[in-house]
Symmetry: C2
C-alpha cells in the first residue's frame, strides 16, 4: 500500500542540520555527523536500511531550499534519486536538473503527481524541515522513518518546529539500533 513517509536523520535534540547552511556546507556546521550511519560509521544493517528506503520509494518530494542548496555541489548537477523527484517551489530555480519536476502550486499538487508516478511504492518526503512541517500540518503523512544520531547539535534547523499545537499519536513499528543511529519507524495514528 502506498504511504507518505518522512525519512530523515535528526540529532537526539531534534536538529536535521547545523547552523550556517550553504552550498559548500549543505548540512551546516557539525551537520555531517548526522549522516555518519550512511557514510563513515555505516554497518551492514545501516546499508540495508538505506537500500530499503530507496527501493520502497517510487517518488521523492523535496523543498526548493534543499534543492537549490544541494543541486550544484552536493549532488553535482544530477539527481541523487533513482526515481522521479518533485521540488516544491514558489518559482523555478536557476538550475534545472534532469530527474526533477518543479511544482509551484503547493504540497497538495506535488503529492498528487508523486502519488500517480509512485504506483504501489511510497512517497518519500525528504525535507527540508519546512516541507516536512507543511506535510505534518496538512495531515498528509502516514509514517515517520527517523534515524536518531547520537549527538546533541544544540542549534541549527529543528525538525519538529512550527507544528500545529495538537498532539499527534504514533504507533511504533520497529526499532533497529546501530552504532551511529537508532532507527525508529512509526505510523501516525489517525
Amino acid at each position: 500500500m502506498q504511504k507518505v513517509v518522512l525519512n530523515i536523520t535528526m540529532s537526539l535534540d531534534g536538529f536535521i542540520a547545523g547552523p550556517g547552511i550553504s552550498k559548500e556546507h549543505p548540512m551546516g556546521k557539525d551537520g555531517p555527523i548526522l549522516h555518519d550511519w550512511i557514510f563513515d560509521g555505516k554497518t551492514e544493517i545501516d546499508s540495508s536500511l538505506l537500500k530499503e528506503v530507496v527501493e520502497s520509494s517510487g517518488a521523492v518530494i523535496v523543498g526548493s531550499r534543499t534543492y537549490v542548496t544541494a543541486i550544484e555541489d552536493a549532488w553535482g548537477g544530477n539527481s541523487p534519486f533513482e526515481v522521479p523527484a518533485f521540488v516544491i517551489c514558489h518559482h523555478l530555480p536557476e538550475v534545472i536538473a534532469p530527474g526533477f519536476t518543479f511544482i509551484t502550486n503547493g504540497i497538495g499538487a506535488a503529492l498528487d503527481q508523486a502519488r500517480e508516478i509512485a504506483g504501489d511504492k511510497n512517497i518519500w518526503v525528504m525535507g527540508g524541515a519546512d516541507i516536512i512541517q507543511q506535510f505534518l500540518n496538512a495531515k498528509l503523512v502516514d509514517s515517520l522513518d527517523l534515524h536518531i544520531a547520537p549527538v546533541l547539535l544544540t542549534n541549527g534547523t529543528r525538525l519538529f518546529d512550527h507544528i500545529k499545537p495538537d498532539k499527534i499519536g504514533l504507533e511504533k513499528i520497529s526499532v533497529i539500533d546501530t552504532p551511529a543511529a537508532t532507527h525508529i519507524r512509526y505510523d501516525i495514528i489517525r
Copy 2:
C-alpha cells in the same frame, strides 16, 4: 563510580511536558501520555528499568518550579524519592516537605552536597528543563537516560533548548525498546 545522570522522558519531538502546567496538571496538557511506560502501558522491562534508576541513585536534584508544582497535589506533601532530594531555588518555597534540602546558591552548591550524600551512587538530575539545561551548559553531566515516548506533543516544555551552541558528543550505551518508550542511555563524550 558516581555519575551525574539526566533521567527523563521526552516525546519524540523533544517535549518533557505539555502546555499549561499547573498543580492540578503538573505534566501539562497531554503530558501524562509521556509516562505511559511508568503507569498504564508498563511492561516488566519498563518496571525493572525504573527500579534500576531508583536503586542506582543516591541523591536527586530538582528545580524549584518542579517542586512547587508537584509537592502538594502530585506528591501529596511527601517526597516521592527514597533518597535525599535537593531543590535548587532562589528563595525558600512556602511548603517545606521532609526529605528535601533547599539550596539557594546554585547548581554547583547543590551538586556538592548531593555528591557527598550519594556516596558511590549516582546523582539523578530529574528536571525540570531549566535545571537540566543549566547542568548541560555547565558541563556537569556524565550520562543521559532518555525515555522517548511514541508521540509528538507539538508544544509544551522543550528539554533541549537554550543549550550553549556547541556540539555535545554522545556515546550510545544501550537501547531497550518497549511498547510505550524507547529507552536510550548515552554517556557524554568529553
